[in-house]
Symmetry: C2
Subunit: 430 residues, 2 copies
């Protein structure tokens, strides 16, 4: 809201010098929340990234410089759920207090050397954990370009978009147990594959392993079973966003997904970035989403700017090479259905949501082939392999490949960055 993020400019500075560098993901305008531990304190707890440092909120809570909701048991927790369950006013107050503590003109923490030594930790020395206990995971399918591409490849190039697509934010329930934090390796799955012209499937390692570049929002305030969230009130239920890699085994998926949707082709792993970017930090980067035609049914209608200008990239680094190739560049603003529309649709049946529910955007493919956000689309089902900078080619992912997603909102002299969601492919367990 305007109070906390009045402008997109860089006039606000922190006494943490590294936060003021123009290319830094974590300036004082960002202040993302994560769960950290380090060698001196291996107990996971909540921290906020600032420059190349982490502010340990459990320490600030202990000395009562920072209390959320008057409680002393909110930040010394291994997950963000208790904090985000406090709802929007508490998030905003906490953010305002942290902003104040880190401003270059505030001496309270800046000049307290012994407290700084305990509360400010170099990011390079901390472990980053899953920031939330994900109670429910929903994956939407809200990029028109992606749905069109997949429909062309999997079904019918003449009628790629199904008739329900433009009427509702189509989605499916995902598997929560296999959501992992960036940096966790991903084992190539095995499963049933249907070779061309075969009568029966064979069993073996996936041969068409893929990523999907997505973002996800985290529900902050849930709703009661039977009581939908209206489109107008939906945004205040959203705590923040992360990057998400919806790892996909295309051959397993293709054989299994009719009629009940993707299952083993997706359930083996979903990676998220460790820092949750708050909606307050994203507020200055609001933009209008794509024009919606036909006009949605009334329960999905909204006016104004409900999308966000978030630049997104994927880098691929083969095993044993130092060289990464940026294989796609796209933007969240291409997503057709807004997060508010997604949440309104999800709950319109009466379905309840809970603090910590994760709701992914779907693959964020843009209109140009260079902005397609999966290998399935970039290589058109493996037919047009990508050229890598080290001379190699890729149809789908190979063992040892490291896939890294990054994203940021570009302000004037600073950026609100998402950090990264990365994972390396391990060989199948045979």
């Amino acid at each position: 809201m305007p109070d906390f993020n009045p402008t997109r400019d860089s006039s606000l500075k922190s006494w943490v010098e590294s936060a003021n560098q123009p290319g830094c993901d974590f300036p004082i305008q960002n202040l993302p929340f994560g769960v950290i531990s380090d060698r001196s304190n291996p107990v996971p707890r909540i921290g906020v990234a600032i420059g190349d440092q982490v502010l340990d909120l459990a320490v600030l809570e202990q000395v009562e410089i920072l209390l959320a909701d008057g409680s002393r048991a909110i930040f010394n927790q291994p997950i963000l759920n208790p904090f985000i369950a406090l709802r929007q006013n508490a998030w905003r107050e906490t953010r305002a207090k942290i902003t104040a503590l880190l401003r270059d003109d505030n001496p309270v923490l800046r000049d307290n050397t012994s407290l700084c030594r305990r509360a400010l930790l170099p990011i390079a020395g901390v472990s980053l954990h899953m920031p939330i206990d994900v109670r429910g995971y929903t994956d939407f399918y809200s990029s028109k370009e992606h749905a069109t591409n997949v429909g062309s490849i999997f079904r019918d190039p003449k009628n790629p978009l199904l008739p329900n697509w433009a009427e509702m934010p189509v989605a499916y329930n995902g598997r929560t147990s296999s959501i992992i934090v960036s940096g966790t390796p991903v084992r190539r799955p095995q499963g049933q594959l249907m070779p061309p012209n075969s009568v029966r499937p064979v069993f073996g390692p996936c041969r068409m392993l893929d990523f999907e570049l997505e973002t996800a929002f985290i529900v902050g305030e849930g709703n009661v079973l039977g009581e939908p969230i209206s489109i107008d009130g939906a945004e205040k239920h959203i705590f923040g966003m992360v990057l998400l890699n919806d790892w996909s085994a295309r051959d397993i998926q293709r054989w299994e997904y009719v009629p009940l949707g993707p299952f083993n082709g997706k359930t083996f792993a979903t990676s998220i970035s460790p820092w949750v970017i708050t909606m307050e930090a994203l507020e200055p980067f609001r933009v209008q989403g794509p024009t919606q035609n036909p006009q949605p049914l009334p329960y999905l209608q909204q006016t104004g700017r409900h999308s966000f200008d978030i630049h997104l990239e994927v880098k691929l680094k083969p095993d044993g090479t130092g060289e990464s190739t940026t294989i796609t560049r796209t933007n969240f603003r291409h997503i057709y259905w807004s997060m508010a529309q997604q949440l309104a649709h999800h709950t319109v049946s009466g379905c309840n949501t809970r603090a910590g529910d994760l709701m992914a955007s779907g693959t964020i493919s843009g209109p140009e082939p260079e902005s397609f956000a999966s290998l399935l689309e970039l290589t058109w089902n493996g037919q047009k392999p990508l050229e890598l900078l080290n001379g190699g080619q890729r149809g789908f992912l190979e063992d040892g490949d490291n896939v890294t997603m990054t994203g940021w909102c570009q302000g004037d002299g600073f950026r609100v960055g998402f950090g990264e969601a990365s994972g390396v492919v391990l060989p199948a367990r045979l």
Copy 2:
């Protein structure tokens, strides 16, 4: 295992007299686990049903007559998850101890009047809660008859069964947040409906509200991400079973489900019965499942008896009438894919499971029309309404309808019953 359930006969008796009646769901051969509270102690805790009484395990734990795993903090819990996470040996030991305590020839509890007064509560006076915290919910589709019927109605009567169906236990991820315990009313959902010959969908209350009679098993011992559960070891991961009503909004489902599967048509409510029947109690009722043709791929192959003879019924009672009509009678043994095959398939990609995960069978339709297990099938998409005993008819469910599912295994002179999963339909929230 043979130690605890040597026979299917009724020679084992309890000093709780009501447990020895032939029609009783909860004889000493059953001993299902649930979560209870009552007026004298409103804190939810774990109990075991015996006849028309509940044995309060928190009381027995407190006085150290019954300790699981040597701990005093397992039964005074609002969910079964900590107990079932102790794994199979602990379940069996606990069951053996409770069996011993309740046998007619054991005076320890029987003759301790003051302890009996505290530990034995009439079922009629207790509230039954959700027995588990469901971390993951998966709904299989493992009745060949149901898949054939739905394929005929929704797609193509000439090719109702899709080619993957006979090769794998097809499944989708369900929504955990809206799983409710028997007795909780179900609000008729609203959503997008596509009228025949219409160009665009309309929004409104579901007009084709349905039930699906299913059972579900509860995972007791999970597996680590990347390490599948093999078919041979799968059964020891299963704690027990419940009845499940997969409430379905057929009109919403039909319009939304291609290509990513059912979503709002299912996420508004799923009811389960409150008592978890252990696999030990079901052991004497093992039977061979249907012949599988083609022979499954090796990771799904098993020999021996891996199904169970569980008789299942659904009763429908319209609002304001005292009269219930039994509208279907079927049996779990019709299910084509065994629970072990379902679990092996679910994890073969490397997907991890956790104690408390719920995995539903899919609608248990039998071969005869009278054994179809949803109104969609029983009325053939509403075309052949059911006649009710009070003179009414049903195509799909009406407001005020009470749907009650029951199930039991018939022994010689006793039965292992599931209790019931019931719910009444409330009008849509307009």
